[in-house]
């Protein structure tokens, strides 16, 4: 089960970060930040290699004693970073890949949303459409047919132009890199 998910823009600033254990958000923010170096390393290594196969899925970036960090980069150089609990050994590689694929699909839907300006933070409010199903509900194991709705503002209130504040369960520090 994923404990933290981050969507990082091309210029390496976060578009969306969400983590489950609400008391240690800062630790996950730092973890995601440090994993960006590994991501950049992998991307440049891919560019120099003469292998024809250039994959979007980067695989395991680095393991710590409690967590494993996985990475994925899209064609538009938007990076997805996922932190997974190490104790859950049942998660196989292709499950992680399918999680990233769903994340990529959701991100593409956000891009196609006319109310979203590319480059803005992705807002996801609990009352309306979700960018992702909450991490608590073990969304990795949800069937593929489960609808993942997207949208920066609640559908029920189209007049509301000011975006709802970013969902953060604890009033921790807001990190902008």
């Amino acid at each position: 089960m994923a404990v933290c998910i981050a969507v990082i823009a091309k210029e390496n600033y976060p578009l969306y970060i969400r983590s489950t254990p609400t008391e240690n958000e800062l630790k996950f923010h730092y973890m995601v930040h440090t994993s960006l170096d590994v991501v950049d390393e992998k991307i440049s290594a891919m560019g120099k290699a003469l292998v024809d196969q250039r994959e979007l899925y980067l695989g395991l970036l680095y393991p710590t004693e409690d967590y494993k960090v996985y990475g994925y980069v899209t064609n538009s150089k938007v990076k997805f970073v996922m932190v997974v609990d190490s104790s859950n050994t049942a998660l196989r590689d292709n499950e992680i890949r399918s999680m990233f694929r769903k994340l990529h699909n959701s991100y593409t839907d956000v891009m196609c949303n006319p109310f979203y300006n590319p480059g803005d933070r992705i807002q996801s409010s609990p009352g309306g459409p979700y960018f992702l199903c909450p991490i608590q509900s073990r969304w990795a194991l949800l069937p593929v047919s489960d609808p993942v709705q997207v949208g920066p503002t609640p559908v029920s209130d189209p007049v509301q132009v000011s975006p709802t504040p970013c969902v953060r369960s604890s009033p921790g520090p807001l990190i902008t890199w």
């Binding site: 250039r54 980069v73 064609n75 538009s76 991100y107 593409t108 891009m111 196609c112 006319p114």
Partner: protein, 173 residues
């Protein structure tokens, strides 16, 4: 089969609607016929840039959605080839007819029967009306390039309908 014409009709209406606001001078009204001319040209430029920015946003979304399953692009030429093949097929159901480059950052994409100009005329008729029908597509190309990480300037030129050329200039950094 009806899908292709839906976009063409929508595009025609878009151009007609945005162009209709032309007679209002945008800012700074000067008296006299010369003033009217100036107002008209500024209004035309505004309409063109509005159309282009609409195409830009659509291009950004398309640039995210279309290359989803394809592997990462290795170099600029791959991105241009993707534009000529996948993007053009997705939007206009045909591939671009020719792609030329000078390898210095200038690419010329030529379409010998551009679907948005095809119903208008064949030859030199309506030549001066053609540019406004190309603004949206220029923005589309620029938006797709921007999502794929390339800043560019896209212009279009028409010598004789329906042949048109899109020139993509990628400044060297």
């Amino acid at each position: 089969m009806a899908d292709t014409v839906l976009f063409e009709f929508l595009h025609t209406e878009m151009v007609a609607e945005l162009w209709a606001h032309d007679p209002d001078p945008g800012s700074g009204v000067s008296a006299g016929s010369r003033g009217e001319e100036v107002g008209a040209t500024t209004g035309q430029k505004m309409s063109l840039s509005v159309l282009e920015s609409m195409g830009f946003r659509v291009g950004q979304a398309l640039g995210e959605r279309l290359p989803r399953e394809t592997l990462a692009f290795r170099e600029e030429l791959d991105v241009l080839k993707f534009l000529c093949k996948d993007l053009w097929v997705a939007v206009f159901q045909k591939q671009m007819d020719s792609l030329r480059t000078n390898h210095q950052g200038t690419y010329v994409l030529q379409d010998n029967s551009f679907p948005l100009l095809l119903p208008m005329a064949s030859g030199l008729q309506y030549l001066e009306e053609a540019p406004k029908f190309l603004a949206f597509t220029c923005g589309l190309l620029r938006g797709a390039l921007c999502t794929l990480g390339i800043e560019s300037v896209v212009t279009a030129s028409v010598a004789a309908l329906p042949v048109c050329k899109f020139q993509v200039l990628i400044p060297k950094s």
